[in-house]
């Protein structure tokens, strides 16, 4: 089951169209010669499993919590207001 999605929907940007300047860059890549397309190891920034950060909850400061709330775009009677999520 495949559904075709256009770039404006994918990007959540109304009326978005592929740009001519960017398409020219992609053409260069399409026409380039590569020696190997199967492995990508050179820029491997993966983290070793022995070096992961501790899996613990870190409590935010009161200041941080206050600023996060102040940044919220819409508030009503002490609640943070978002659009209805389930619509379709």
């Amino acid at each position: 089951m495949s559904k075709i999605m256009t770039v404006d929907v994918l990007s959540s940007i109304k009326g978005a169209q592929p740009s001519e300047a960017v398409s020219k860059l992609f053409e260069v890549i399409k026409n380039a010669h590569t020696t190997n397309t199967s492995s990508f190891n050179t820029n491997n920034n993966a983290v070793s499993v022995n070096d992961l950060r501790d899996d613990v909850v870190i409590e935010s400061s009161d200041t941080e919590k206050q600023i996060i709330k102040a940044n919220f775009p819409k508030q009503k009677k002490g609640y943070l207001v978002v659009s209805k999520v389930i619509e379709e």
């Binding site: 992609f26 890549i29 397309t37 050179t42 920034n45 935010s60 940044n71 775009p73 999520v85």
Partner: protein
Amino acid sequence: MIMDSQIRSLHKKLVNKELSCTDLVKEKLELLKPNTNNTVNSLLEDSALKLAADVDAKIARGESIGLLEGIPFGIKDVYMVEGTYTTASSDLLKNYKSAYTATAIQKLLDAGAIPIVKENCDSFGHGSSSENTIFGAVKNAQNPELVGGGSSGGSAVNVAKGYTVFSIGGDTGGSVRQPAGYNHVYGLKPTYGRISRYGLMAYASSTDCVGPIAKTIEDIRIVLNTMSGKDVKDQTTYQSEPIPENAISENGSVKSVGYFKNFVESEAIDSKIKADFLSAIEKIKAKGIEVKALDFFKSDTLVSTYYTLAMAETASNLSRLDGTNYGNRIESENLKETYAVTRSENFSEETKRRIVGGNQVLSQGFSDEIYLKGLALRDQISENFEKDFNEVDIIISPVTPGTPPKIGDSLKDPLAMYLSDAYTVGFSLGQLPTLTVPQGTTTGLQITAAKDNDELVLKFANFLKDTI
């Protein structure tokens, strides 16, 4: 050899009570207030003056102060600093305040440096001229009719004008090195992972680097050492050794230098930049250093590989900006429409172009042909660098093929703007340490070494200072 350093000279004046920290900070704030070159997104006046008063009180009590204590600096407006506006020069975040502080900035605060300004830049780092901003195009420090360069244009101009002692920019494809070159100051893109990206608004995570801009090599070294180190909040960071002052003062170890033939033979390069670059090469040869011409990828391949991967990454990174939890939400009839209207109205044309390009290459049917091939090309570019650094210690290159464009010209021709990044993006893809020095050509020279050899880059920069 005693090296030039604005930080050391100001530190001495503060300790000897020749200058109070309050006066120093006030002087810089007064210089920034007229906003002559559109470098200021917001001033941190109250907090800066309070911190300065604390430093003065400490000195008055006879306590010792650290080298960076009381030194005023600027921050590109893409770094989180708790309680400050952090806009990314965008409409979407024009009223957004940071809830926490970036690791790199926190380390400078811990060392006592005083942030005085959040600096203008291309929105979300998307640009090479600092014209893609809601705060007005940044004007070049040497000639205000020309662009300040980008994306860290405000930071480079502030340093060049003496409005900040140093500034912290961000470099994804040249955004510290190119404006440093356009404004005749030093700008370093360290090895990827040397400085934590935590709290730097993400553009393209696999090449994003925190980078200092300053007027002297010693100041770059001091600030680099302060910000470096492993950080659990950015697991791509690694532990590095601080670079000692005496390690970079004399050039004993650079025996061979390479440059890319095709950069110089390109039709796009300005004839004066080419002649000056070749003349710099001759001066280096005259010092007994072997110079080798190296083969490299064509400029259009480098630029296309970089932009393909950077757009893919920025499309993912910026998908979080939908106005739900923060940002300038514009309500519409339902959730999806609210997302779409918020993003359409608040992102600039250049940012939209990059998001759409990124989603294109990540789509089924395009990803194999473009994105995966771009990754393969990036591997080949990195392998090429590894091979080169078996043959030479240092690679030098021009910073840009041309001189800074007039304000207004870059926005008309995005492809020309992308191609103007030809000499900087390769080193970003290779994650290599690269420094712009304000010498050699009118937009400077880049000095690059192998990964984690930032020390050699600074050492060779010192050598060049007295050589060309």
